[in-house]
Amino acid sequence: MVKEVMTSNKAVAEAVRLAKPQVIPVYPITPQTTISEYLAQYVADEKIDAKYVKVESEHSAISAAVGASGAGVRVFTATSSQGLMLMHEILYAAAGMRVPIVLADANRAISAPLNIWNDQQDSIAQRDAGWLQIYVENAQEALDTTLMAYKVSENPDVLLPSMVCLDGFILTHTVEPVEIPDQENVDAFLPPYVPEHAFLDPKQPMSIGNFADPQYYTEARYAMEVAMTKSLDVIQQTCDEFAEIFGRKYGLVEPYKTEDAEIIFVAMGSLCSTIRVMVDQLREKGEKVGLLKIRAYRPFPVEAITEAVKDCQKLAVIDKNFSFGIGGALYADMKVKIDKEMYGFVAGLGGRDITPEFIMEAYEKTKAPEQDVTWLGLKEE
C-alpha cells in the first residue's frame, strides 16, 4: 500500500490499472481527459495488459465497450457531459444487454450555453438508462468505488453496468492524498470476470442484442428492475467486503450526525465535504443538524434513506441539476419515496462555487421556508 497525492482522475486510472480490464475504448473530453491520458500511458508502458481502442467519438467508445464486454472481457470507459449525452442511446442498450461495463463520468454541465465546469446534470440525465450510479466525494472514494463497481456490476444477481460519478474539476483536477491498494489485495477482492450469461465464442455460439417483441420486452425490462433492486444488497455486501480488506467503510448512503438531527441535508458528491464542515459549525452553535450523503443514486436506496431520516423534522435536499418545473432530481425522487417535509435547493450549476454561505442559506430557508424549491446564489438581475 502506498499513499500518494493525486487527482481523482488519477485515482480512477489507478483503480482501473488494479482492476485489469482487457479493453479500454475511450475518447477524451474535459474534464475527463486525464483519465484517458493516464490509461493510454499505462497501456503504452505495459502497466495494463489491455487493448486501448482509440475511438473517434464517445458514441463509438461506448459501442466498442458493449462489443468488448459482450465478447466476454472486463471493460472500462470514461467520459463527461456532452460525451455522455452522445452515448445516451447506447447506455440504454448496454444496460438492456446486461453487460457489466464500468464507466467513470467526470460530472460536467451540459450545453447550451457551452460550459466545461461541474454540475451533475449529465449523469442525472441518464438516470433511467439502467446503470447503477454511485456519486463519490473525494479521490479515495473515486478509486475505491471504481474497484467496487466492477464487483457489483459483475455479480450474477446484478449484471448491470455502473457509472462512477465524480465532480468535474472539484475532484477530477484536485490533488489530495490517496491510498493506493496493493495489487494482491485487489486481486483477492476482485477476481477476473468470468461471464456466463453472454460472451462471443465460436465454440459455443450465442446471439446477443436480439430483437424482442411485445411478448418479451416488458419482462426484459422488469428483469432489470429486479436486478437493480437486488443490487442494493450487493452494493452493501461489497462495501462490507471492501472494508474487511481495505479498512475503508462505504455504504448506499452515509449519515453524518443524523441521529438527533432536526434538519438533515441531503446531497450527492463532493458537495458533501463542505456540508459536513458546515454541520459541525452549526452543531457548535447548538443547531441540531446532520447530513445524509447519497452514494447510490441508482439503485435508489429508499430503505436506507428512510431509516436515516426517520427521526428528523425536515430535509434540505441540494441538487446540482434541475428538472424544469419540478426542482432537482434527488429532491423529486425524495418527494416521491420519502414521507418527510422537505425543501429543494438547486446549486452549483455550471461550476458556480458552492460556498458555506450557500449551505447556510439552504439551512435558514429550510428552517423558515418560503417556497418548495430555491435556486441558491441566483443573481437577481
Binding site: M97, R98, L159, H197, M206, S207, I208, E219, A220, A223
Partner: protein, 80 residues
C-alpha cells in the same frame, strides 16, 4: 421468464419457425433434368435445398429463385 439480456444460447433455433407455411407456389424438382450445377442450393435465401437437391418444404417460402436460376428448367413452380 426471459434470459438475462435476452441472450439466445441455442442459436439456429429459427428452425422452430416453419416458414413453409408462407408459400403459395412450391418448387418441384425433376431430378432427371438436374445437371448438378447447385445454383438452386447456392441461391436459396432460406437454406431449403440440401446437397442432394432435396427441397425442404418446412422452410421453403416459394420465392421461385431456384426455378428461375435453374439452367436446365428442372424446377417447376406448382400451386400448393
Amino acid at each position: 421468464m426471459v434470459s438475462i439480456g435476452c441472450v439466445i444460447k441455442n442459436p439456429g433455433n429459427t428452425r422452430n419457425n416453419k416458414t413453409g407455411s408462407w408459400r403459395t407456389f412450391k418448387p418441384v424438382l425433376d431430378k432427371e433434368k438436374c445437371i448438378d450445377c447447385d445454383n438452386c442450393i447456392i441461391f436459396c435465401p432460406d437454406s431449403s435445398i440440401n446437397k442432394q437437391h432435396d427441397i425442404d418444404y418446412d422452410y421453403c417460402k416459394g420465392c421461385g429463385i431456384c426455378s428461375n436460376e435453374c439452367p436446365s428448367d428442372a424446377i417447376e413452380m406448382v400451386k400448393e
